[in-house]
């Protein structure tokens, strides 16, 4: 943890609004991007809001024993999974998510949409580990800490995620 981040966290633990805003500005893009990937664009801002409220309300529990980013990933993932479960419990709300808006065009945009469509069909736990690894580029040790599982579970869950994702992409017409 850098000195300045430690100061910001300490300010947040004292409920200082300027520190809370600094923390938001430092990490909101990363949290929002993760939420878009895990719950879809239409719900991502609400879940990002919930994530930061949870962070500010519970930041006194962050002891510095792990990297702050790991703790933040864990809070974000938990909020996303909880949101996904609540949508599953409320079947009247469609589970399909809006495609991620992409700046790419042509083949690249089609591939990005295809990938998101397949990710949306993947089990939440598998989707989470794939996104954290491939997009957030977490190491296996960071994945284990964020998801609170063993390194062995990380490897086997990633294997399942990739295998299942490939099957879903094939069903959607993707050719490797």
């Amino acid at each position: 943890m850098t000195e300045s981040l430690a100061d910001i966290i300490s300010g947040c633990q004292s409920n200082e609004r300027s520190a809370q805003q600094q923390l938001y500005e430092l990490h909101s893009r990363r949290v929002y991007r993760l939420c878009v990937r895990l719950v879809g664009k239409q719900d991502a801002s609400d879940v990002t809001q919930q994530t930061f409220l949870k962070v500010f309300r519970t930041i006194h529990q962050f002891s510095g024993g792990s990297r702050f980013e790991t703790w933040l990933h864990r809070v974000t993932v938990n909020e996303c999974l909880q949101h996904t479960r609540s949508r599953i419990r409320r079947p009247e709300i469609a589970l399909n998510v809006d495609p991620v808006v992409s700046s790419q065009t042509g083949v690249a945009a089609e591939s990005a949409e295809l990938l998101q469509a397949a990710l949306d069909r993947l089990e939440p736990e598998l989707r989470t580990i794939f996104v954290l690894r491939e997009i957030e580029e977490l190491s296996y040790a960071e994945l284990a800490e964020t998801l609170d599982v063993s390194a062995g579970t990380v490897a086997s869950r990633l294997n399942r995620a990739r295998t299942h994702l490939k099957e879903l992409l094939t069903q959607l017409g993707w050719e490797a």
Binding site: S28, R29, Q49, R85, S102, S103, A155, N159
Partner: protein, 279 residues
């Protein structure tokens, strides 16, 4: 190395997370095995599909929305500043009688408002703390229990000590269904009351928490959807979370909440033992 060993290591190979010896032997197998090579090629192709969406930006008004919620959080428990120069208000006796009446009304009004806002503050903390508890319980009941104890003072006791403290015999002292064991009993000082919290193990090894409390606590379950069910004439409120069930019902003068239940049959069974019908 054979295929069944190699296939489990393909992700770690692809991600560069294997030791150099293991990396070499898996790579060697992949070079010689067509099916493992194909699976590995799929993983490589998947990674090439992932294109970072660096242009994704949160909505411009998002910080404003968060700040306004934080503002309402802090005003809910903000203390009211004391009146200035209150002695001046009592200078003449005629005015003082009227002033005393105004002050008393203000004091009682303030006390009521503080009581109400404190309740809301407690509710909010309870909702946040129980949200964490329910999220954690399916993964690790012990860690969920530790979280609860970190937020509220608690003591490990036996059933007799609990009876002395709370002045009633806790429900877990009645009986448990066949094969269930009582692992621990804690007294937890919640904002509402002194709560008896017991952790039990079911015959299949899953854990069940039993909480006995004086006040109904719908706030524990936050905004999770609830359903009301009838168990042989007794109404219970059920909440589904992460493949498990929590159920609350009124028992005599108190409330019982069981967490970590698999299905409604288990609730019926627990109800029969924890809270047998009065003769």
């Amino acid at each position: 190395m054979n295929c069944s060993e190699a296939i489990n290591l393909l992700s770690a190979l692809h991600d560069g997370e294997l030791s150099s010896d293991l990396h070499q032997s898996v790579e060697q197998h992949v070079r010689q095995c067509e099916s493992c090579a194909a699976a590995h090629a799929d993983f490589v192709a998947l990674s090439s599909l992932v294109i970072e969406q660096s242009t994704l930006e949160p909505p411009a008004d998002l910080w404003g929305r968060i700040e306004s919620t934080l503002d309402s959080d802090s005003t809910a428990i903000a203390p009211v500043a004391p009146a200035k120069n209150w002695r001046d208000l009592f200078r003449d006796s005629k005015r003082s009688r009227a002033t005393v009446a105004v002050v008393l009304i203000a004091v009682f009004g303030f006390a009521f408002i503080v009581h109400e806002t404190m309740d809301h503050g407690h509710d909010e903390h309870l909702a946040v703390n129980f949200d964490q508890f329910l999220n954690e319980f399916p993964k690790s009941p012990e860690r969920a229990q530790k979280l609860l104890h970190a937020n509220y003072p608690s003591d490990l006791v036996d059933v007799d000590q609990a009876t002395l403290e709370v002045k009633y015999r806790p429900a877990v002292a009645n009986s448990l269904p066949d094969g269930y064991t009582l692992d621990s009993v804690h007294l937890v000082r919640m904002p509402c009351c002194l709560c008896v919290e017991a952790l039990c193990t079911a015959p299949d090894g899953t854990r069940v928490a039993v909480l006995e409390h004086a006040v109904d606590q719908p706030v524990w379950f936050g905004d999770r959807p609830t359903e009301e069910c009838d168990f042989n004439g007794r109404k219970a409120r059920l909440v589904h979370f992460d493949g498990q069930i929590a159920a609350t019902w009124m028992s005599d003068k108190r409330f019982l909440t069981v967490i970590g239940i698999r299905d409604t049959d288990e609730i019926t069974e627990l109800m029969k033992h924890l809270d047998p019908p009065q003769a």
